[in-house]
Point group: C5
Chain length 99, copies 5
């Protein structure tokens, strides 16, 4: 899994039937900076489905691949990235990482 | 999933039987620019099958891996990338992203 | 999927039983150049099994991951990359791409 | 699989039900230095579930993808990275690699 | 699949039960040099299980992902990379590639 920030959303009217009603969010994978004190963007842009009610600018936990279908909401969907949790805090060496 | 632009198409006569009649499109994964105001190419080139009737120069949503087989049209195909939607618009901080 | 050029072959006598008799080819993933007029190598080297009778210096279509097992010839093999078609031509903006 | 160092942990209260009670750890994939005498970070940050009781600053073995569900503890979880062992030592040319 | 060189080994006593007795090897993916006359390291470090009796400094063929479980020895293991053959020789333009 990896940590990402929700940076936006996507509108698609012409799509696969099973995806109708799914919330699609633009996410950017983040990583620790060199000092491991804060998170910084990797600059990549992906799209994930949301199952936990996450909102813009929140940090979330993303699962990829076939495991992205391992939630009750996504099990028959053509998705390869699912938000499975909202990140409250990250800790390195007992210090809180800046999000 | 990720966002890609359809940049071309591919002709292949000698191929696996199950792929006969499948529309194969050349796509380029795109990502947000640093200001998150527009999409720009990653420079990579991939091939995806189309299930939604997408056309050249359109931005589409791509699913990869085993989930690419999770649509009625692709379920028994040897494919690892499927177009599952046409992107109408992307939004970051309530602003429309330039496509 | 992605487009690759067949650049060579591999000989392995000591191998998993199910792979005996499989043709293993050295491939290089290719991508469009910046003008999208020709294909150029990515510099990476992979190995794929051939199911369509492709030969050295040909451009082929490669499927990766679990879908690489979705052909009659590869379904029980330990393979993650299969050649599923020979590329006749690529087209961008109604122009033929130089292979 | 790859070798990673556990650098921290993650707290998430709002998450998929099946993930309640799972220990989520921040990990950094490591690789050999050019002389193959010590391990160094790749600078990437991932999140893995722990099944072996690993702790911060330990080097661990990570399995990714669908195989991350191939342990008794993870088999029905939406996870794509699992710690399957704690690394005691690495050896290159009969020399111990510095961890 | 890809070609890798076995550069070392890994000792792990505290691990998932199903991995007890499995030989774990440190591998480096290799690729062709620009002239396609010799193989050179990519600098990455991975870990694979061995099913063919390969030894240090040998070049081997690696399968990744769910297909890594498609051998009799690995089918129920939490592994994502398996050695499926020892490379005897590589050929480009009818010339032997230097290993």
């Amino acid at each position: 899994m990896f940590i990402a920030k929700i940076v936006g959303s996507l509108v698609s009217t012409q799509k696969v039937d099973s995806m109708i009603g799914q919330k699609l969010l633009l996410i950017e994978p983040y990583r620790l900076n060199e000092e491991r004190t804060a998170m910084k963007t990797t600059g990549r842009t992906l799209v994930a489905v949301d199952t936990v009610g996450a909102g813009e600018n929140e940090f979330v936990l993303i699962v990829q691949g076939s495991s992205a279908r391992n939630t009750p909401e996504t099990k028959s969907l053509p998705v390869d990235a699912t938000i499975i949790g909202i990140v409250d805090s990250l800790h390195v060496d007992k210090q809180k990482v800046i999000l």
